[in-house]
């Protein structure tokens, strides 16, 4: 039992090395596994499927590199769904990070280049760029979007019918079918100031850690769907592509390594406790 107790005081760098090796395994052995589609992912998928023509979806892409591991996949799969069904959507980023819209551009550029070359900026999607003001900005967007945005992220005026035909039929909250906010921790103000006031459906794409406090909104119908961490993107990808081989969103690429990551932590906790109780019994 002595060596078990000695396991306690391993140098921190050995633990780091173990994590690098354990997490690199799934990348070496490139396997794809079926995923269990959870109810909150399915509800968002079905809600977007039922989008009536003429309605627009507002994507609050307010994430940056700090949470790209989870949020990149969450916007990627929804953009693919919207581009596939030609549902027009508007991208913005309210309050949290000015880098959000540029990350959304990156995701769309790859999708359009690889899968939907005929989709056009200004017709299928518009990027309005960053704005500030939190709940005050949300109230402005709901009443009249031109109060909050004068130009889009490329400098075109919103009333430029030739470059932004899509924006000519977006005036206020009436024209928006769903608001999909994607970031580490989406602002609950969307629920209070938009859904609470106008009844507009809201969906979140959030980091796993924050989802714990958002499940209660799914129960009360204040959220129509939610993508939780890497698995949310992987499950949505599974709904988009029934055939396992066609799935290549970041969510699908990371879900198996994510599984290894969880196992690493579980093993670490169990080993740590075995070592601790062994040491205590020896001292005890």
């Amino acid at each position: 039992m002595v060596w078990l107790a000695r396991l306690q005081s391993i140098d921190r760098r050995w633990i780091y090395a173990a994590i690098w090796v354990a997490c690199a395994l799934p990348f070496v052995v490139n396997i794809k596994l079926p995923v269990y589609v959870s109810p909150e992912t399915r509800r968002l998928y079905e809600f977007i499927e039922k989008c009536p023509p003429g309605k627009v979806i507002l994507v609050d892409s307010a994430w940056d590199a700090g949470s790209q591991g989870e949020n990149w996949g969450q916007v990627e799969v929804v953009f693919e769904h919207l581009l596939r069904k030609r549902i027009p959507f508007i991208i913005t980023s309210v309050e949290i990070t000015p880098l959000g819209p540029q990350f959304a551009d990156q995701v769309i550029e790859r999708l359009v280049r690889e899968k939907f070359p005929d989709r056009k900026y200004g017709v299928d999607w518009v990027n309005l760029g960053y704005t500030k003001g939190g709940w005050q900005a949300m109230q402005q967007i709901a009443k009249d979007i031109r109060q909050q945005y004068k130009k889009d992220s490329r400098g075109y005026s919103l009333d430029d019918a030739e470059r932004l035909p899509l924006m000519q039929r977006v005036r206020n909250i009436e024209d928006i079918y769903l608001i999909y906010s994607v970031t580490y921790s989406p602002l609950e103000d969307w629920i209070a100031f938009i859904h609470g006031v106008y009844g507009t459906p809201i969906a979140f794409g959030c980091a796993g850690i924050q989802s714990t406090t958002y499940y209660r909104y799914l129960l009360s119908g204040q959220l129509v769907g939610m993508l939780v961490g890497v698995r949310g993107a992987a499950e949505y990808d599974a709904l988009l592509h029934p055939d396992l081989r066609d799935r290549n969103s970041l969510g699908t690429k990371l879900i198996v390594p994510q599984a290894f990551g969880h196992l690493v932590i579980i093993v670490a906790v169990i080993l740590g406790n075995i070592g601790y109780f062994a040491a205590r019994r020896r001292r005890g």
Binding site: I19, V28, T131, E188, I209, S220, K253, Q258
Partner: protein
Amino acid sequence: MEGATTWQIWLAAIVTLGIYSYLISDNKLYRLLLNVMIGLGVGYNFIIMWKQVLQPLWWEPMTRGFAAVFNGFAPGSAQALWVLVGLLGTLWYFQFSRKYLWLSRIVIGMTLGAGAGVVFKQQLLMNMPQIADSFRPLIARADGTPLVGGSAAPVSLWMSLNNIIFVGTIVCVMVYFFFSFEHKWAPVRHTARLGRWLLMVSFGAFFGNTVMTRMAVFLERLQFLLRDWLRFG
């Protein structure tokens, strides 16, 4: 990382490994890269904030207003008043002075005061649907009709059990956080004790989901290093 030429991928990889050198030991390269990162981020955000928020919402309306004022108070010269908001905005920066610190507290007070004024609307609109959704039948018929005078549908054991656990957990957790009376009375003490145990199940979910997020960040970096950089697997 598609469409990236190799030197760009190498730059990103070097920078990534440079920061990971912190894991070996806290070193100079890591601290330098940290300074570069913070500098780039602050500089980048500064320009984006100006181009996408302050210029369209403040600078342009104000200059249009002054243009209207200069050609004989044409319509729209009221926009020139934005200059007053600009002056008020400079009060933020008295935060750095000891003598005039109180000036910055005016603007802080206004901004946070607005937030405090709207706290009722914010909190109640967020939580009233939650309270309404917590009205769950403890003995639930399968088709949801009421116990007394409802349809003859059988009572669904699974739904009833879930609802009892659901409402019970809310009650126990809230009793745990009551402080204005002594937990002498046995039922209250046991309810609070059970509340703390039920909180542990919820904190288990917090722990598990925190692991999910922390792993995802590192695995994305690993995916970049192994797939995009080393072309592995």
